[in-house]
């Protein structure tokens, strides 16, 4: 049986654009059909914004890549129409265990709270997610939505202009040219777009190698994230074990800096390492082996005129914390509605600058977390090693030390505090749903709160009367009237001690503003701010 990543999903086919005498102008061209590019394309097409995706390949990305998808990503996938497929196929988990030397020092629960549709995390091979996203692209195209992917279309040159971008595209049948109102580069950490534009990508290099081995085995390990500091089977280094679907297990072993990378990838070196970890008697088969190093870095700006950067093309983090793919999908979530409003003429072009502000803010947060985790996992000096081991020694018996143990702060969405689109906050309402925060899911009469939201702006009217269908200069607000009668989760997450509240929610489900009562003029002001009209 062919593996999923060996099958061409969108094989090259000649397009009329290639034979046109005039260069075709597209609204949005996305470069890269990875999870970020596909998520953005789905978001745009679902808003009836025509989008063309160009990819130098014609299939899902192969090998071992992202595996941990966080709750917020699953909520975005729900909005894009492939949350169920991902969760059904994925392995749901929410518990981690930490080991030091030969003993377990503690365990943690990532979502110790009921009343959410989605779990803290699922593990799912990236190629499965890409396939679900691609299937969704096909479903939208079949339903007449303006979405198209061109395989084996490699962008060779970019000409950036004030109001458009010109692209030279190479295909198996030769080159052709395209133009786009907006170009979004989702072409990965080695982004050719970034390179062609000569843009900086600076940050910190970590001098360490990590061996990734995906193995197929029947094993008794529970569905949890297991992390070892200085275990007997990998002395002086770290190790990570994660379960994926189809009896595939991800093993990540720190190897140190001065190693022979080619030698360490050979099965005769890898298999003894894995046997030392898993036990001599455990039968397994190697599915994938690679050795990686990483950097923590970002571009200075994610917007360069009409060219935008998203995902790994814009920022890179260490893998500890699952903040790479998850933050990339949140980039797409942040950008889709903004591009749609600008292209529809409902918001000025400067709304796109808020994408830069908010996602640079998120990238900095992710880089900080992943740098700190890396410094804890791989101490770079004698004294940092002494403190690290002191924390681990204390953690087994002293709960106070456990928050200091950092085996990766697992991805949670950023709250855009002081963001340029944030409007009024009302004192006394819960902190977790303040302006800039993503909505917190909660059970409601119809099922789940997040499933009830429209694709555009929404008003949550909680215990307060609020008119339906308020329109603010072309932006129509969908009102959801909610009651906290018998709904403690909704009350705790949105009201606190207040009797009622009105929340203005952006199309990406982040809170724009909130009030203790209905005030139409205040809502209009907040919509103007959230769309960068003021």
């Amino acid at each position: 049986m062919s593996k999923i990543f060996e099958i061409p999903l969108y094989p090259y086919a000649r397009h009329p654009d290639q034979d046109d005498n005039v260069v075709r102008r597209h609204k949005v061209i996305v470069v890269g059909a990875g999870p970020v590019g596909l998520a953005l394309a789905l978001d745009l097409a679902s808003r009836d914004i025509p989008v063309l995706v160009l990819d130098e390949n014609d299939r899902v990305s192969f090998g071992s890549r992202a595996i941990c998808f966080a709750k917020r990503t699953l909520e975005i996938l729900d909005r894009l129409g492939c949350g169920d497929e991902s969760v059904d196929k994925g392995v749901t988990w929410g518990r981690g265990r930490v080991f030091f030397d030969e003993r377990e020092i503690y365990e943690f629960d990532l979502l110790p709270e009921d009343g959410h549709k989605r779990p803290a995390f699922i593990n799912l091979q990236q190629y499965h997610l890409e396939k679900f996203l691609f299937d969704r692209v096909q479903a939208l195209a079949a339903a007449g939505k303006p979405i198209e992917i061109r395989g084996r279309n490699r962008v060779e040159a970019i000409g950036a202009h004030d109001d458009h971008v010109r692209l030279e595209v190479e295909t198996p049948e030769g080159p052709y040219e395209l133009q786009a109102d907006w170009l979004v580069a989702c072409d990965g950490a080695n982004s050719p777009t970034r390179r062609m534009m000569g843009l900086d990508f600076v940050g910190r290099v970590f001098e360490d190698n990590f061996l990734i081995a995906d193995v197929i085995m029947q094993a008794e390990f529970p569905t949890e994230r297991w992390f070892w500091f200085d275990p007997p089977f990998n002395r002086g280094q770290s190790a990570l074990l994660h379960r994926q679907p189809e009896n595939v297990w991800r093993i990540d072993l720190q190897l140190g800096w001065d190693i022979d990378v080619e030698a360490e990838k050979r099965p005769e070196r890898v298999i003894p390492r894995l046997k030392a970890m898993l036990g001599e008697d455990v039968a397994f088969e190697l599915d994938w082996v690679s050795i990686y190093t990483f950097q923590c870095r970002r571009m200075a700006r994610f917007r360069q005129g009409r060219v935008l950067f998203a995902g790994d093309a814009a920022h890179q983090v260490s893998p500890f914390g699952a903040r790479g793919a998850n933050s990339g999908i949140q980039d797409a979530d942040n950008l889709g509605w903004k591009l749609a409003l600008v292209l529809a003429g409902d918001a000025p072009e400067r709304l796109i600058d808020s994408y830069n502000w908010e996602r640079v803010y998120a990238a900095d947060e992710n880089i900080t977390h992943s740098t700190r985790a890396t410094d804890f996992i791989t101490p770079k000096s004698e004294i940092s090693q002494i403190f690290r081991n002191a924390v681990l020694d204390l953690a087994a018996r002293h709960p106070f030390a456990r928050p200091l143990v950092n085996s990766g702060r697992l991805s949670t969405p950023s709250i855009y505090d002081d963001g340029p689109l944030n409007g009024n906050d009302a004192t006394g309402l819960p902190q977790r749903t303040r302006p800039g925060a993503p909505l917190c899911d909660a059970p409601v009469a119809e099922g789940w709160l997040l499933d009830c939201l429209p694709s555009g702006f929404a008003l949550l009217a909680i215990n307060i009367d609020c008119p339906k269908g308020i329109s603010c200069d072309g932006v129509v607000l969908t009102t959801l009237s909610l009651s906290t009668d018998g709904n403690h989760a909704l009350a705790a997450r949105y009201l606190g001690e207040a009797a009622g509240a009105i929340y203005l929610v952006r199309p990406d489900q982040h809170v724009a503003a909130r009030w203790l009562g209905f005030d139409k003029a205040a809502i209009e002001d907040a919509v103007a701010r959230a769309t960068a009209r003021t």
Binding site: I386, F387, N389, A390, V391, D393, L394, H398, F400, A401, L404
Partner: protein, 68 residues
């Protein structure tokens, strides 16, 4: 906002100092370093207040030790 106490606050300065040395008795340098690190973490947690801790870190870093 609380400040780091800079007045003498130990109930029995000589007794505490003797106890501090006593827990290091017979330890190797590495063991003593580890004990000191644990002690710093335990005391830091007891203090808890970020501003006080920040002042303590600053005072410690700003006091030049003797260069041997």
């Amino acid at each position: 906002m609380p400040d780091l106490r800079r007045d003498a606050n130990l109930q029995d300065a000589d007794g505490f100092y003797a106890d501090l040395l006593a827990v290091h008795d017979g330890l190797t340098k590495a063991e003593s370093d580890a004990l000191n690190a644990r002690l710093i973490l335990i005391l830091s947690n007891h203090i808890g207040d970020a501003e006080v801790l920040s002042q303590a870190l600053h005072d410690a870093a700003a006091t030049a030790g003797r260069q041997d």
